[in-house]
């Protein structure tokens, strides 16, 4: 692997389209074996896409959320696990770009741009489950460094990452709402993998359990001590919801395209009549679901991009509602779309592992969407935020 510090922002979609066939070819094996797609990660490192969101001044692509969404959608059409691995890395990079100390940025971002550093995310914790803005394990101040001991039950790509962004309680005597985000370089971190990732879907993400121990310099605190909530609302939640929605859409869109191509081909299952009202109604509904997610993704991505360009905060009830709606809606509609395709295609094409169209894999993969940051949590949050927006400012 020879990392090439390219400047891919304008060509991110083209680079993603170039990688997609390779990812598609390997997706079945990655899923069956539950293996981390290390070859795909190497290809991503070499492409320059790992540094898409790194500013050009650091040698990165200088891309924005629109470039991210487009590349994620395209790559997910090949392999959803790989696209999510990349999307979550970009989510970490965005947080670093916008909130890391200048020292950490100078040290880390050029390496990210060169494709040398793949960053995994550690937010989930055993006791608190998915609750993002709280933490149990506490940082301990030991002179110039911070000691970090963290149990991390779900870490996508944890075994392969070169660094970790970890949420920790600010100090042993701090309340669990005072969360610090810290960067721990793999070289300086003791890692122990426990448990396996034998999940229904998203098997290539190898989202294993890990124990991390490190002493990190104080400059590695991202966004200031105890101030993770601001990093989450400004960057991690927004970029995560946009990138994940794009990934799920890309997978469902590719499944739909394959089904349409199959129906147009002489190989179509004899039991499916493309002229029947039942078939066309199902196709119509599925297409409409994808249209709605695509349009809303576009709209919310543009809203975040606009706020960023104008230096406006996105920590407002309407924008947070739009971001939550994007995530929940994309999770529900893309899963429903593939579920309907299974019904439309019937047993042999829809349900079999040997089908020419991997609908059963997509179905299992997309089932994770509602869980990967629980839709329930987002729905209740959105309802509360809606009470603060009497004028109902829609996206």
């Amino acid at each position: 692997m020879t990392p090439q510090p390219t400047a891919p922002a304008s060509g991110a979609a083209d680079l993603a389209a170039g990688l997609r066939p390779l990812f598609a070819e390997r997706a079945g094996r990655v899923d069956t074996a539950g293996d981390f797609p290390a070859d795909n990660l190497d290809a991503l490192r070499a492409s320059g896409l790992m540094g898409l969101l790194v500013p050009t001044g650091y040698g990165g692509g200088g891309g924005g959320v629109g470039d991210l969404a487009e590349a994620a959608r395209i790559m997910a059409g090949g392999c959803l696990s790989t696209a999510m691995i990349w999307a979550m890395h970009c989510q970490q990079v965005d947080a670093l770009v916008r909130h890391a100390t200048p020292e950490l940025r100078d040290e880390l971002l050029p390496r990210v741009a060169r494709g040398e550093v793949y960053i995994a995310s550690v937010t989930t914790e055993a006791g608190k489950g998915g609750r993002l803005t709280s933490a149990e394990a506490a940082l301990e101040h030991t002179g110039a460094t911070l000691a970090l001991h963290r149990d991390a039950p779900v870490v996508t790509g944890g075994e392969h990452a070169d660094g970790y962004l970890v949420t920790m309680r600010e100090a042993p005597d701090a309340p669990d709402s005072r969360v610090s985000l810290v960067y721990a370089d793999r070289d300086l971190t003791k890692t122990e993998v426990y448990g396996s990732w034998n999940a229904l879907g998203m098997r290539g993400t190898r989202s294993v359990g890990m124990r991390l121990s490190a002493n990190v310099p104080v400059r590695n605190v991202v966004g200031g001590p105890g101030a993770f909530r601001a990093v989450a609302t400004d960057s991690m939640i927004a970029v995560g919801h946009i990138a994940w929605a794009a990934c799920w859409l890309g997978a469902a869109q590719s499944a739909f395209g394959q089904v349409v191509s199959l129906l147009r081909s002489p190989n179509r299952p004899r039991s499916v009549d493309p002229r029947s009202d039942l078939t066309t109604e199902r196709l119509g509904r599925t297409r409409m679901d994808l249209e709605l997610v695509g349009a809303y993704l576009h709209q919310v991505t543009a809203e975040v991009a606009r706020h960023r360009e104008q230096g406006l905060s996105i920590d407002t009830p309407p924008v947070q509602i739009h971001l939550n709606t994007l995530k929940v809606t994309a999770a529900e509609l893309t899963y429903a779309a593939v579920d309907r395709l299974v019904q439309l295609c019937g047993l042999s094409v829809g349900y079999s592992k040997d089908s020419a169209v991997p609908l059963e894999r997509h179905l299992r993969d997309l089932r994770s969407a509602a869980l990967n940051y629980s839709n329930d949590r987002l729905l209740t949050a959105t309802g509360s935020l809606a009470l603060l927006d009497r004028s109902v400012r829609l996206a």
């Binding site: 709402s177 909530r229 920590d315 009470l387 603060l388 004028s391």
Partner: protein, 89 residues
């Protein structure tokens, strides 16, 4: 002891939303509410309770990230909704 700028009912409601504040600790005007257990979603319930208690309606435009940072900010938010910057009725 200096008198608090707010009525006891206000303090009672606020304290009910601060699980991490000891019952006998003072409610300092600059107390960081988030650090004492007021999470961002709990602020919605608190806001509605305060509106009912004080008979005011806070326009959405007045709500900012800093509106619930400490007791004084909350009290001033209520006061501004009462119209002339004076304490709400």
């Amino acid at each position: 002891m200096r008198e608090a700028p707010w009525p006891p009912e206000f303090e009672k409601l606020l304290r009910a939303n601060l699980p991490l504040l000891d019952a006998d600790a003072p409610l300092d005007p600059g107390l960081n509410l988030a650090d004492h257990g007021l999470d961002s979603l709990a602020t919605v319930g608190l806001l509605m309770d305060l509106e009912e208690l004080l008979g005011v309606t806070i326009p959405d435009e007045l709500l900012e990230q800093t509106s619930f940072q400490d007791p004084l900010a909350v009290w001033q938010l209520m006061a501004s909704a009462a119209g002339d910057g004076a304490a709400p009725a």
